[in-house]
């Protein structure tokens, strides 16, 4: 019996959710080839840059940082989708999380490497990257960054893996190929009540532990900018501002992933309208938070009125960067707020459109942080502009394509929706939630000791 036949005979949850593992369509191969080719093109561009030095970029003095650092902040921001959102939903006992946590956690683990590699691509001497450990200088925010991203990657990989063990054990028992992979990854797990209990306690601990780690990652990235004296970088709000922005873009990325998975793997019964509605509400909350932070940041700069700060501010509001600034405002606030504030547009299409706008807007936000400040140093106002070279744009496209490629491959080896958590939801949660709601209601006066 082939794997396909095995899976076809299973009950609905297992049949639908394991189907991508055993059946691959032609469209999948076409997209995978396209993504792999783009990623390879990005790799070629990097090889070109290695030979030519950073002269192959459009960077200059004083535009020392550009696309790579923008993409660094952007991709690490996207990585907050998964672990943070999934952990918060788990800790909050949000029952609608069950079908979305796995796809979210996969985003985190797979995108974080693509984000973390960006500053290495940006190095003038990538051959000396290990000096960061050999000659570590504890006061450098860049070192804190290496540590917090390393910790976050480790923690979120464990946090992805542990809740996947029962599913891996089930796949192993079904005998789906490759046998060795599932035998190895299931580490001898047997789904007994005591094993399940231990697993759930471990997940509970991990979910709590991973939240402060995730917060630290984007805080430190904000500090990389904020701890310099540069106009509009030197801002105490940057730590929390970056964390909110990261969660914002992460939610948007997750919605896009859900919409695509739903369509290509026919998961309409699992990613339901209510999931998009609830994710849309999260997007609504974060878009309002984003506006609040952005307004607070720009008002403080404008009211303070320091010459160097104002030069940077006006270049964004009315000058050279007005287009990218106001496009960012439209993408990060106007579009998502207009769509998410109404129930009628909080369906699959509405949330997806809003999310695409948010992802573009959050890339622009990082552009508007990095470039205008760099081009407005305190002492000179040089007539310089920054135009990314084909190398930088190719590497950016390659990074995005590389992430999409590995995500596609992951859906072919691992169920992208947690099967055991769905089943647990069917079997236990309805009862548990009823009991929980009952426990919120007032007790009978006669039974209460005063």
């Amino acid at each position: 019996m082939t794997d396909f036949e095995t899976v076809s005979r299973l009950p609905q949850d297992e049949r639908v959710l394991l189907m991508p593992l055993v059946r691959t369509t032609r469209i999948f191969w076409i997209w995978a080839a396209l993504m792999a080719a783009t990623a390879l093109w990005g790799g070629f561009a990097y090889a070109y840059q290695l030979r030519r030095g950073l002269g192959a970029t459009g960077l200059n003095s004083p535009e020392f940082w550009g696309i790579y650092i923008i993409c660094f902040v952007f991709f690490i921001g996207i990585s907050h989708a998964g672990t943070l959102i999934s952990a918060i939903l788990r800790v909050a006992n949000a029952e609608w999380r069950r079908s979305i946590t796995r796809s979210a956690e996969f985003i985190t683990v797979l995108v974080i490497g693509f984000g973390a590699v960006q500053p290495v691509l940006d190095l003038g001497r990538p051959d000396r990257v290990l000096n960061i450990f050999l000659h570590a200088q504890a006061f450098s925010p860049l070192l804190w960054d290496v540590l917090s991203i390393g910790l976050y990657f480790t923690a979120s990989s464990i946090y992805l893996y542990v809740p996947m063990i029962p599913d891996l054990a089930r796949i192993r028992d079904l005998g789906i190929r490759p046998h060795v992979l599932y035998w190895f990854m299931a580490i001898g797990y047997r789904d007994t009540p005591s094993a399940r209990h231990t697993l759930e306690r471990l997940i509970g601990v991990l979910a709590v532990a991973v939240i402060p780690i995730a917060v630290s990652v984007h805080t430190v990235i904000g500090w990389i900018f904020a701890l310099t004296l540069k106009p509009m970088w030197h801002s105490a709000i940057f730590g929390p501002y970056f964390v909110v922005g990261a969660i914002f873009s992460g939610i948007a990325a997750l919605i896009i992933a859900m919409a695509i998975l739903r369509r290509v793997y026919h998961l309409e019964a699992y990613f339901k309208d209510v999931h998009f509605n609830n994710m849309g509400l999260l997007l609504l909350v974060t878009t309002v938070l984003w506006l609040y932070f952005t307004f607070a940041e720009h008002l403080t700069v404008w009211y303070g009125g320091e010459a160097a700060e104002l030069a940077t501010l006006y270049s964004k509001l009315t000058g050279q960067f007005a287009f990218s600034f106001w496009l960012m405002v439209a993408c990060c606030f106007v579009v998502p707020f207009a769509l998410m504030a109404r129930r009628a547009t909080r369906g699959v299409i509405g949330t997806t459109v809003a999310s695409v706008a948010v992802v573009i807007g959050m890339w622009l936000e990082r552009y508007n942080i990095v470039v205008p400040t760099s081009l407005h140093p305190r002492l000179d106002a040089p007539q310089v502009s920054y135009l990314p070279s084909w190398v930088e744009l190719s590497i950016m496209a390659g990074t995005l394509a590389g992430f999409v490629f590995v995500y596609m491959v992951a859906t072919k080896f691992f169920p992208i929706i947690s099967i055991w958590e769905i089943q647990e939801g069917r079997e236990k949660s309805v009862e548990e939630v009823s009991a929980r709601v009952a426990s919120y209601l007032p007790d009978d006066m006669a039974t209460v000791d005063s």
Binding site: R52, G53, L54, G55, T57, L59, N60, S61, P62, E63, F64, W65, P119, D122, L123, G124, R125, P126, R128, V129, N131, I132, L134, H135, A136, Q137, F139, S140, P141, L142, L143, V146, I224, L227, T228, L229, K230, S374, P377, R378, L379, D380, P382, V384
Partner: protein
Amino acid sequence: MARWGMAIDLERCNGCQACEIACRSENNVAVGGPQVAREHRTISWMRVHTEIEGEWPAIRARFVPRPCMHCDRPPCTLVCPVEATSLDSEGIVNQIYARCIGCRYCANACPYTVKSFNWRSPEHPASTLPGLNPDVSVRPVGVAEKCTFCSHRLQKARDQARVEQRVLREHDYVPACAESCPTGAIVFGDLEDPTHRVAALAHDPRAFRLEEGLGTQPKVYYLSRRD
């Protein structure tokens, strides 16, 4: 312990840029050329900036030579992840080219924009090769560099003094820019030694420092009646 510093008299500076040229040839600064200049990637350790104040006819120009400020609280050294730049015991902010990973964080942290980066492999045309200074290492592609107060000259001066069994005198150690200045606008020495001219000039009523409010405590003082 000495604390090396510089005073630049803006009323004496006539903008001749001899300091720039002297610095280039002393420190083997790579020759860029017009293409590199168009790309805004020219490397220079000392640059004479022109400041224009007011509008015609009440217009005033002044020249401000700007080397590294050798701050006592340097923002660049703090952010370097590999300690490739640091403040030494005599107040010179030095660079370790062989350790630098080229992240350019220091260049971003410097409020004076005096750090340069080797975007490409540095070029030294054949005609300049005989003039290279053997005391200063050339920099490879991908590292940051900047003015060092010609600290190699300090090594030499100290060795010379030791050989002659005497203490270091004021004019034993002078960077190339100060040495070449035809109007004597650049004065160099030990800020802690009251017999050095620079120590007196630093306390001159005309003295000020760039962006003093940032708290970086630069050791390059400017002298100007107008400020």
